[in-house]
Amino acid sequence: MTPPNTSFTASSASARAPASAPASPNIRAVHDDFHGDLLEVSMGPHHPSTHGVFRMNVTLDGEVVVKLQPVFGYLHRNHEKIAEQNSYLAAIPYTDRLDYLSSLTNNWAYVRAVEQLVGIAVPERAEYLRIILGELARIINHACLVGFLLNDLGTSFTPLLYSLRERERMLDLVEELTGSRMMCNFFRFGGLRADVPADWLQRLDAYLGDGFARYLDEQDALLTGNEILLARTQNIGVLPPALAVSAGISGPMLRASGVPYDIRKVDNYSLYGRFPFQVPIGDHGDCYDRYMMRMLEMPQSVQIIQQAIEELPSGDFITPKQKNAGLRPKVGETYSRIEGPKGEIGFHLVSDGTGKPYRYRVRPPSLINLTALEDMCIGQTLADTVVILGSVDIVLGEVDR
């Protein structure tokens, strides 16, 4: 059985380019008294710049990285096996806890996989509302990332505080709608848990047009032209496009390397075909491009939300009489993916006809984007590895699961 929407073919010719040889560690052959030995540093798991409990075993020659070994698993919670012990509905709140900065898109990816497995149609209004909430999650995630990346650069909390201030406003709206700021648990098979009130949409629209637009302008003026930021990020942690493709990198990180691949455009899932948004593409694949991808994607997401609010049709927010509790799909398997804020988030489900999934597998963008970390860090200084890790945008809840 070939489930729909599982084509992995890349969209452009450049995405098919063969992988270049991996960067070879430049280890000195001679260790004299003047230069000394190589130094191995265990960075983390409680280092504040590693965004959680992540460890990097870095081998240093002076200040330059010659080898880097990522160590993860400190936050392993057995997510996949827990989901295999529970009903299909009960896995939705667990998906919130994968990438806890953008729980709405995690919900969406999982719910889409189950809908594909069972064959549930989603009403048009629900699809529009899902797009609004998904793009809101993307904005929240990117606003957060820009702040944390600058924090990693050493700008002690100023840009982060401005970012979090705006994020809190959006989280207030999310809380009002879903009941929780981060653990939204709002998507259901066939639609959403509740309808979105018109005045909520108006307030979101007003906020994005006013407060958030001001934030974007200010953040741009504060950071984008800043000479220190340019010196610290340009030509740091370059990821060549061929390596990015062969390593399976996705999301803004892949596009920063110059590969035009956005699942919203490639798969045209949901109703994204109706939205004429642009996908920013980088040129150098360095930290600055990865930062700029996030800055440029935010206005595009705002535009999508504004268009969706304008065109929002009336109708059902969930397929009428759709069963959510005690769902028993027929025997089969499926893989469904969406473009999350961090990259391709996908769910592979295998059903054996019972009320629990036989196999439940998450394809986490953070973990797979992290696999290219060593290639980006070799030859850079230790202080730069912090910036490179920050620009990858990982959430340990998703890396370790």
Binding site: A90, S180, L223, N226, L229
Partner: protein
């Protein structure tokens, strides 16, 4: 020119610093616990059980159907139905425990409950001296009055009451229709019976007219 980007940035931070003295948009700090945060109605934290009347145990809405126990993602609900002396299951819980040290506040229990008996609370300042015994809440600790529910979820309460009234009205109409149908059937039966003996019918009609 080198340094213009930094100067531009410093201008932004200065604007924010000055703005924080008079612009509410730029200083959003709330002095908790002196100032209370505005909790939206949809906010959810831990579940509680709703009872309708005065007595928490006898008027509990819960019928111990165990839907929430089955669907609870972290499996933190434990229910035992009450049985009468003959061993027949009564429709109310004898034991209803929620371990709120395990509960993740997802609200699925409230969503799947067919009798609107379990709802999500607004309490977020929960403290306990013992993390094992004090965080395992029993039926009597979980039961809260319907007035409390009405107070924290006014919109949901109104919608539910409306649905309930509608259901009641439909049920009553159905009962009335059923009664009418039975009456009609009886009348029809009576008619067939009378059709068989038209003489009596005429006689009856005559009596009826006479009576009028």
């Amino acid at each position: 020119m080198l340094g213009t980007g930094i100067l531009k940035g410093l201008f932004i931070t200065a604007k924010n610093l000055v703005g924080s003295y008079y612009d509410k948009e730029r200083l959003t700090t709330l002095q908790y616990p002196e100032e209370a945060a505005n909790i939206p109605e949809n906010y959810r934290n831990f579940p509680f059980l709703v009872f309708d009347g005065e007595d928490a145990v006898s008027t509990l809405r819960c019928v111990a159907c165990k839907m929430c126990e089955k669907e609870c993602p972290p499996q933190c609900i434990y229910i035992v139905s009450e049985k009468d002396e003959k061993g027949k299951i009564m429709r109310r819980p004898k034991v209803f425990d929620i371990d709120i040290s395990v509960c993740m506040g997802c609200g699925i229990c409230a969503e799947v409950c067919p009798s609107s008996a379990i709802k999500m609370d607004h309490i977020f300042e929960v403290t306990a001296k013992d993390r094992f015994s004090d965080l395992l809440l029993h039926r009597d600790q979980l039961a809260k009055s319907v007035d409390y529910y009405k107070q924290i979820h006014p919109t949901d309460f109104a919608v539910e009451e409306k649905a309930r009234a509608e259901k009641k009205r439909v049920a009553e109409e159905k009962a009335q229709a059923a009664a009418a149908a039975t009456a009609a059937k009886a009348a029809a039966a009576a008619k067939t019976a009378t059709a068989a003996t038209p003489k009596t019918d005429v006689a009856k009609a005559a009596t009826a007219t006479a009576a009028v």
